[in-house]
């Protein structure tokens, strides 16, 4: 088979890339490792989902034959399966993370692109500025907001970002959590804004509005009102007639000729048979861990450690978000059962916090599954079982509220995704070996933010609040990024400012791997915007 472009992965970045290329007239093949599953197949299993996985997942990665090796803080290594701590997984299915995500649709803040020049570089960290700034990305954020579909409050958001155009949809109506938190913020003099969401607050682009079902984050949407790659960009790519999507197709290796020109992708079908698809251009969008694995598993004579890896950068700076949070017991119920749950945020502590580097957006929580509430939301002095535990659950499930947010991690070059030398997956491909932690500086920021979260809950009326200190660890699961960072200097980065792998004319990365730093907010809109920008440029130059 021969196509113009192969896109590896159908998630946030891959979906956008496929659409832009197909709409520009290119023949595109999308290889997706996961299955094309229905809403019913994903289901509403409270014990097997990407919010709380107490048993093997329903939405990938499959249990059998897909382990990773995880090396913990103490240097102990162990084999981990997809639902186990240490795996650092994201959904593996058509649409990738976007099928099941919570759909928070944040732009990174202008200062997020300039962390090193704003704060200096903490010793031992690989904190760096992006080669591009907010203004370079702003038009593509707008495109993502309109083409994938975001609801939000333009006026409130405009206090934090220069924005040319409103959101295509108004925010969802606020519920009890937001009402309480608005009062608290007013008492503290903090600015708040509705959380922008990749959700149809009203019917949009031919699909219905959100029915507020409450099984949002970690699940597929029963109303098809949550917008992701699967129901927007991928659909549009396929509608051109020039794109093809192959589920259960695992990219094994990017093929390259002796001159360094990429020629296609070798992939494995569900029976284990190998195929090669030839292509003018290859776009890696398999997520930060799997993209790094794919490049490293594609060595050549010129690049013995994998494509783009002659400066030992592929797979380093693996990062995500350390979460800072607090829980508060409110005098009145604040759980109204209306999904998605997350609703109101403050950006007052995303930057410019005295004495710490960076910060985080803080917001309320998604609707909490009862079993997750039991596992994570109870006060630390409450017995874990017995009558007191049951009583507390009964009286306080609707009262306890979490405020938290994704702390911008200070990256470390030693946080890595490599190929394991011994363990192979079901198809004989070396699995990812994850090691290292975020930089310790991240923990100081997290502690500061947890204090802010507590203050907000108290001001909102909480009778008591509690939190737990963040640990020095790798936090590169759902928000994994950074393994093929973008930069002008090829010795310190993997791709250029357009997502093209240094030293290769026709090899691109268009997923979270390219993030230099991962922002003080959730990353997905940035992944989409970067993919729009890179793919558009690729087509313009083609």
């Amino acid at each position: 088979m021969r196509v113009d472009a192969v896109v590896v992965g159908s998630g946030a970045g891959g979906g956008v890339a496929a659409a832009v290329l197909a709409q520009a007239g290119k023949q595109v093949l999308v290889l997706e490792r996961g299955r094309d599953v229905t809403y019913e197949e994903i289901g509403r299993d409270h014990l097997r989902n990407h919010r709380i996985a107490r048993h093997p997942h329903r939405a990938g990665t499959d249990l059998e034959g897909n382990p990773r090796v995880f090396v913990d803080v103490a240097g102990r290594e162990r084999l981990v399966r997809a639902h186990e701590p240490g795996f650092h997984g994201n959904p593996t299915l058509v649409g990738g993370g976007t099928r099941l995500y919570g759909a928070q649709a944040w732009r990174f803040l202008p200062a997020d692109f300039a962390m090193a020049s704003t704060y200096g570089v903490p010793a031992g960290s690989s904190l760096a500025d992006w080669p591009i700034g907010y203004d370079d990305l702003a038009p593509f954020y707008e495109r993502a907001e309109w083409e994938i579909g975001v609801c939000g409050d333009h006026v409130a958001s405009s206090r934090h970002w220069p924005r040319a155009k409103p959101y295509p949809m108004p925010p969802l109506p606020e519920g009890l959590q937001a009402r309480a938190l608005r009062q608290g913020a007013a008492a503290l003099g903090w600015d708040v804004l509705p959380v922008p969401l990749l959700i149809n607050s009203v019917p949009y682009a031919g699909r219905d509005g959100c029915t507020r079902c409450g099984h949002c984050v970690g699940f597929a949407c029963p109303a098809d009102a949550k917008n992701g790659s699967h129901n927007t960009v991928l659909r549009r790519a396929l509608a051109t007639g020039r794109a093809r999507l192959l589920p259960e197709a695992v990219a094994e290796r990017v093929e390259c000729d002796p001159a360094g020109r990429v020629t296609g992708v070798r992939w494995v079908d569900r029976s284990g048979a190998r195929h090669v698809v030839e292509a003018e251009v290859v776009i890696c969008a398999a997520g930060a861990i799997e993209t790094a694995r794919l490049l490293q598993n594609s060595p050549t004579r010129r690049e013995p450690y994998g494509l783009g890896n002659n400066h030992d950068q592929v797979g380093r700076h693996l990062q995500g978000h350390t979460y800072a949070w607090a829980l508060g017991e409110m005098p009145e119920p604040v759980h109204d059962g209306l999904g998605p749950g997350v609703s109101l945020a403050t950006l007052d502590f995303a930057h410019q916090n005295d004495g710490v580097v960076g910060g985080a957006m803080l917001a309320d929580e998604f609707t909490v599954l009862p079993i997750a509430f039991w596992a994570r939301n109870l006060p630390p002095d409450l017995p874990r079982w017995g009558l007191d535990n049951k009583r507390y659950m009964r009286e306080n499930y609707r009262r306890v509220m979490r405020v938290g947010g994704p702390v911008q991690e200070i990256p470390s070059p030693d946080a890595r995704a490599r190929l394991d030398r011994h363990v192979r997956d079901r198809w004989g491909i070396p699995v990812a070996r994850l090691s290292g932690t975020t930089h310790p500086e991240t923990l100081r920021t997290a502690a500061h933010l947890a204090g802010r979260a507590r203050a907000w809950l108290h001001a909102s009326g909480a009778r008591r609040t509690w939190t737990e200190p963040a640990h020095l660890a790798l936090h590169a699961g759902q928000h994994q990024s950074g393994t093929c960072r973008m930069g002008d200097d090829e010795r310190a980065s993997v791709v250029d400012r357009w997502g093209r792998v240094h030293g290769h004319d026709n090899l691109y990365v268009m997923d979270a791997s390219v993030h230099v730093t991962n922002g003080a907010l959730n990353p997905v809109l940035t992944i989409m915007a970067l993919a729009f920008r890179a793919a558009e440029r690729l087509c313009a130059d083609w």
Partner: protein, 139 residues
């Protein structure tokens, strides 16, 4: 109940389940279907843990005999709770084949899954725990 536990292990498990989630105005763990949840899991995701469960339940029973002179299932609720708390704290009086505290926290986790998880998993009969805490499902 779980096909491969002995009758006495099953009786101990039943008593443990109602100690972890005791009945009050709302049903306890057994009435809410936690045993049914566990039986299903022992044929599925937890199949590999059946022997672990059997050995741990035997050990709890042995503790009860040592401390109170009667099997765990025959103790009154206050003593069951006290015994399980002691075992959870590692305060044991008989030899254990593995870490006692880990066993208790593992079982507690599974019982809570059966009680607060979705009814589709075989426990939480008629969503009884969800009604108790007022978690409502909407479409």
């Amino acid at each position: 109940m779980a096909a491969d536990l002995t009758a006495s292990q099953s009786a101990t498990l039943r008593a443990v389940v109602d100690t972890v989630v005791p009945a009050d105005d709302d049903p306890g763990g057994v009435e809410a279907g936690v045993l049914r949840y566990l039986a299903g899991q022992f044929r599925g995701d937890l199949a590999g843990l059946l022997a672990y469960y059997g050995a741990g339940l035997d050990a709890i029973d042995a503790e009860a005999r040592e401390v109170y002179g009667a099997g765990f299932a025959l103790l009154r609720p206050g003593r069951r709770e006290a015994l399980l708390k002691a075992v959870e704290a590692g305060d044991t009086h008989t030899p254990w084949p593995f870490d006692a505290a880990t066993f208790v926290s593992t079982v507690v986790g599974h019982v809570m899954e059966g009680f607060y998880g979705d009814p589709g998993n075989g426990g939480n009969r008629d969503a009884v725990s969800w009604r108790m805490i007022r978690f409502e499902v909407r479409d």
